[in-house]
Amino acid sequence: MNKPLLTIGISLALSVPLAAQAGAKEDFNEVYAKAQSTHQDAGNFQWTTTTDRMKAAKTSAESGDYDKAASMARQALKLAQESVAQRKQQQEAWRNAAIGN
């Protein structure tokens, strides 16, 4: 049996999950940071559902489940983007509903 080849093979096989986890962690960090800054951009139009997803993402990351954490962060980002769109839309739209305008 070719020992060096076997050693390389085992090493590669063991490193795959670690590399995958490192990728998921980076993915989470990137999406979470983006979700956080977008959530801030919503100002006083922030949604509670965004906050909930961000907390869930953080909890999953702390327990090492970066795939779930990244998924939650992506959901948070989508919600945060919708809340920013709402804030921008309401800057003028509120007048259409107001008595006295």
């Binding site: 006083n44 922030q46 949604w47 509670t48 919708e82 309401q90 509903a97 008595i99 305008n101």
Partner: protein, 279 residues
């Protein structure tokens, strides 16, 4: 030719004027709001609007009237009176901070302080009074502050709400800011305060019966069955925001104080009936 230039410049200036400045005055807003609700509920006497859902729903009114034999806020009002009259460590009392010793003044709050350039709510004034006398501020939404505020409101029972927007651009900006907050849709459910309390009062939303905007602030602080205790208006603001999945703002934040300013101005002339009970 010169005349044409003048006309063009005037037209340009008019178009460039921000819409907020071009809008209605607070008093015009209020009159239109009163007219709107009169038309929506022609059988409800104007002064009845302070009773919120009890003015619009006979079943709810009967339940409320039976509760009035022993109002659940009575102990809190008595406790508030005691706290109001108990001297601080320096020997002074709350009375030293307020006009007329704090008795019968609820109808004048909130007001715009033209020196500090901000809206002063009754609860804010209570806590500032404490701090000015070397005491720790109270928590904003419930407990002691609600009891003291309830006692002070009780001394104004029946007095017409009398909110002023002074001739000051900052006061008008605070009013407009509150108005914008009131009519802006927010939260994942995309509701504004007005979605429920201007456009749909008298209707049910799940198990809640929607009250009209007119007269709403006059019954605060309020004892809600849901809370099992008294709470301040800003506690209710936060609850409403939360219901539509909008992140609530801190009690006594500038946004909520401006919102209270606008909302209370709309009820000018209606009587103070706080504290009151609500489901």
């Amino acid at each position: 030719m010169l005349k044409a230039k003048v006309i063009l410049v005037a037209l340009g200036a008019a178009l460039a004027m921000p819409q907020a400045l071009a809008g209605a005055t607070p008093e015009e807003d209020r009159k239109e709001t009163v007219e709107y609700f009169k038309q929506m509920f022609p059988d409800v006497p104007l002064e009845e609007f302070v009773n919120g859902q009890y003015a619009l729903n006979e079943d709810r009114r009967k339940q409320w009237e039976s509760m009035q034999d022993f109002p659940p806020y009575e102990f809190a009002v008595a406790e508030g009176k005691e706290m109001f009259e108990t001297p601080f460590a320096n020997g002074k009392t709350y009375a030293s901070c307020f006009e007329n010793g704090g008795i019968g003044i609820r109808q004048n709050y909130p007001y715009f302080d033209t020196e500090k350039k901000e809206v002063i709510t009754l609860e804010l004034a209570i806590n500032r009074c404490r701090e000015a006398n070397g005491e720790e501020p109270l928590r904003w939404k419930k407990g002691a502050i609600a009891s003291i505020s309830a006692y002070m409101a009780s001394t104004s029972e029946g007095k017409p709400i009398n909110i002023e927007v002074p001739d000051d651009p900052d006061a008008l900006a605070a009013y407009q800011d509150g108005k914008e907050f009131y009519y802006s849709r927010r939260g994942q459910l995309n509701f504004s305060c007005a979605s429920c309390h201007v456009q749909n009062p008298g209707k049910w939303i799940r198990a809640d019966f929607l009250s009209p905007a007119l007269g709403q602030p006059s019954n605060f602080p309020v004892h809600r069955s849901k809370w099992g205790e008294l709470g301040t208006l800003h506690r209710r603001f936060a609850g409403c925001n939360n219901n539509v999945r909008a992140e609530p703002l801190p009690a006594q934040s500038e946004e909520y104080r401006n919102l209270e300013y606008f909302l209370t101005y709309m009820s000018n002339g209606l009587p103070v009936v706080g504290p009151a009970t609500r489901p």
